[in-house]
Amino acid sequence: MRLRLVKEHTTFNFFKMWKMWIGVSAVFVVLSIVSTVIMGLNFGIDFKGGTTIRAESSMPVDVATYRAAIEPLGLGDISIAEVFDPSFRVDQHVAQIRIQAQEGQESIASDMVVRLEAVLQDIAPGITFPSVESVGPKVSGELIQSAALAVVIAIAVVLIYIWFRFEWQFAVGAVGALVHDIILTIGVFSALQIKFDLAIIAALLTIVGYSLNDTVVVFDRVRENLRRYKQKNLSDVLNLSINETLSRTVMTSVTTLLALTSLFVLGGDVIRGFVFAMIWGVLVGTYSSVFVASSTLLRLGVKRDWTKPSNTDGNQFANIDA
């Protein structure tokens, strides 16, 4: 007996309520943009410059005491947060302290870290600083630029690839889904004010990869079915293709989520934000490949006259022999 998450033959009509789904997506996209504009992103020092210090002590962290000790140093905006993780020992108390980039300084201010460590040692003897990271404003500016550029280039490259492999309508559908996923991910980071740093950009690009993976599998089947069922109308072909690949879509999402959830729970607090972005991305990516990419394709319509009969003809992988 096999474990079947999706029963063998499904005939869901994914487009019965396509207007609603597009509406839902549109609402979430707008909400994400509004949230990002109003609340902003909780940029980490990678993008904003500044210093983060991880302080570890055997005594419980009292944020107010820490703040009272640090404030007289006049370092501007500071944020102190206690960090919790199931893997910590009972007497392991961790605080994450963030200091804004100091004004008028091109490089990082090192004496500041020394002074700060000294005052914390006064209030919590035996405190250690397992990690100190400082990024000067010059580098952070460049990091933002190259990160934004990376995302844009990734989308452009993908657009071109799909356009070559399929038709432009497919490329538009896939990229529509990608942009949707990225905006929703940024939106959730803004709404929950989770730290947004370089690793999150990596997560975003992975989401791009994953969402695409899903979309491409559906599209590949659409292309095949378009050739096979020349008389069926487009929405039936799309529905059939999504239903046929549904079992695979769910299986892959579940295995990926299994691995990611394990990392989220057990992987430590350092990469939790990064893993969260990916889990969210897998969920949104799976949804969007069906409801955004395919709906877009349905609206745009596709050329039905595929002059070349074979499903791998006319592309550079036609001769790959597995």
């Binding site: 096999r2 490089s107 000067g136 990869g209 491409v216 599998v217």
Partner: protein, 543 residues
């Protein structure tokens, strides 16, 4: 029908075996590490067979702990000092033409400019010509030769700047020199496997594993350590006092209110030092002993012979460390620097003096330190997460696809082994996001198999028999597999090119993971399916 030729089978298994062989050392990490650290003769005693590969996955600083610094070299400083040293030559040349040009006077030039006011502005053209004759040729970008200086005029000011070609050549020299000096300083400090790299035009990346604090490292490499011995003209407490032509005002290191007026041209500089060692003076206070090379010893000997009873200043990075009176001629070529040091400072100063001074100052743009304990915690957490996630995926696959699921699982285990093998082979660095990349790959690697298995299930409904269904399943799933993986691989490549540090590590494991997962899905599981099929010859197939 379902057939794989013998040589192909051999090739597939051989590739797997090779990948796993290269991954093997990582299972015995500490043992292999001591083996690799051992000298060639001592290797055999370390318990790792010499015929096995011994490449290990490098752990990134976020996993092993260490300090990461990104410094920027102030290249323009060198232009200024180049032009500064050019002044005597310009002055002499212009003085010879005094009759036509008139009196000349050096003006405050600003950054990277030498500015000279000339008495008769109408003779500017001939002044420019005179200075231009001093130009030396340098190789230009286009391959031809061009002058190293550019001479222009604004009003009665003659301005000398370095040409672009000369700037470029100077930049390269400055960077090479800075890298060399930093490398020497880090080596002198005895740290292990530092990475010191040039990045872009003016940046230097320094990574030192195992270091708990970046402060120490910054003190060591961020100090210019420019040592000069200069003649003392006088002493003042006025920080804005007029030092006079050819002199400069320098603050005392131990007393903020004291300023020395020194002759600008040094008697001897740190470049003439051959050795420096921490020591103690006759009062038992920490000091630094130094020794000059022959030419330095000669210059210093001559100067001290001529100036007995006069004070001279030992200047380090624009601060007078001490200004002793010359008691007797020092012709032996060695001496002692005393000052307000403690033992750590005297040790550091002697290290810096031995390594030489930086040609330009260095500022730090980025600094990241991770303590070794935190790194170990991350490794442990990553390991647990990998094992649990791995186990969950294995069970899930076996439940979903039965025998075929087990094949996919074996392939997945080989896959993870091969990722480590490849990482060790190419000497890539594993970072914390890199571990996340592996976990993600575990989740996504089964995708190719899932695509194939689902396709086989579909084909079973319509095709003529199990063998044909398997064959069609592989054939038809291939196009989706290639498209899906190529797009993911493209994003991994972009991440690798654009990303920095840990993100790059993530891109590497993700990219390698895609290659190995496609390989294992379309070759390894297939060969297992084929062998099983030949052995069992099932009439009815359940996937």
């Amino acid at each position: 029908m379902l057939q794989i030729e013998g040589w192909k089978r051999f090739l597939i298994w051989a590739t797997c075996a090779l990948g796993l062989l290269f991954a093997l050392p990582n299972a015995f990490y500490s043992k292999v590490e001591t083996y690799n650290d051992a000298s060639d003769e001592g290797k055999e005693a370390k318990g790792w067979p010499t015929f096995l590969p011994s490449g290990l996955v490098n752990l990134g600083l976020d996993l092993r702990g260490g300090a990461h610094l990104l410094g920027e070299v102030k290249l323009a400083e060198v232009y200024t000092s180049r032009l500064e040293s050019f002044w005597p030559e310009v002055r002499n040349a212009l003085r010879e033409e005094r009759a036509t040009i008139g009196a000349i006077r050096q003006q405050d030039g600003g950054e990277a400019k030498l500015r000279v006011r000339i008495g008769k502005p109408e003779a500017m053209d001939s002044a420019i010509k005179v200075v231009q004759t001093l130009a030396r040729p340098v190789a230009s970008f286009s391959g031809g030769m061009t002058d190293d200086i550019v001479v222009t005029a604004v009003g009665d000011n003659l301005i000398v700047t370095l040409s672009d070609a000369e700037k470029l050549a100077t930049d390269d020299r400055t960077m090479a020199q800075s890298l060399e000096i930093i490398r020497r300083r880090v080596d002198e400090a005895g740290t292990r496997e530092p990475t010191i790299q040039r990045q872009g035009t003016d940046r230097i990346l320094i990574q030192v594993p195992g270091l708990g604090s970046a402060q120490e490292l910054k003190d060591l490499i961020g100090t210019p350590a420019l040592l000069t011995f200069q003649a003392v003209v006088g002493e003042t407490s006025n920080p804005n006092g007029n030092a006079g032509i050819g002199n400069e005002l320098v603050q005392a290191a131990d007393n903020e209110k004291t300023y020395y007026i020194l002759e600008r041209a040094p008697v001897v500089t740190g470049e003439d030092l051959t050795d420096a060692q921490p020591a103690f003076d006759q009062n038992g206070r920490p000091a630094v002993n130094f020794r000059f090379n022959t030419s330095g010893a000669k210059k210093f000997g001559q100067y001290t012979t001529d100036n007995i009873g006069e004070p001279f200043a030992i200047v380090l990075d624009k601060q007078v460390i001490s200004a002793p009176r010359i008691q007797s001629a020092i012709t032996g070529g060695s001496g002692i620097i005393t000052g307000d040091f403690d033992v750590t400072e005297s040790t550091r100063l002697s290290t810096l003096l031995r390594a030489g001074s930086l040609p330009a100052s260095l500022i730090f743009l980025e600094e990241r330190t991770v303590g070794p304990e935190l790194g170990q915690d991350s490794i442990d957490a990553g390991k647990t997460a990998c094992i649990v996630g791995f186990g969950a995926v294995l069970i899930f696959m076996a439940l979903s696809y039965g025998t075929f699921g087990i094949f996919a699982n074996i392939a997945l285990i080989i896959n993870v082994g091969m990722i480590f093998g490849l990482l060790s082979m190419v000497g890539a660095t594993l970072t914390l996001p890199g571990i996340a990349g592996i976990v993600l790959t575990i989740g996504m690697a089964v995708d190719a198999n899932v695509l194939i298995f689902e396709r086989i299930r579909e084909e079973l409904k319509t095709a003529k028999g199990p063998a044909r269904a398997i064959e069609l399943g592989y054939e038809k799933a291939l196009s989706a597999i290639t498209d899906a993986n190529i797009t993911t691989f493209l994003t991994a490549t972009i991440l690798f090119i654009m990303g920095a540090g840990p993100v790059k590590g993530f891109a590497v494991t993700l990219g390698l993971g895609i290659i190995t997962s496609v390989f294992t899905a379309i070759f390894v599981t297939r060969i297992m399916v084929v062998i099983w099929f030949e052995w069992r010859k099932p009439k009815i197939l359940e996937v």
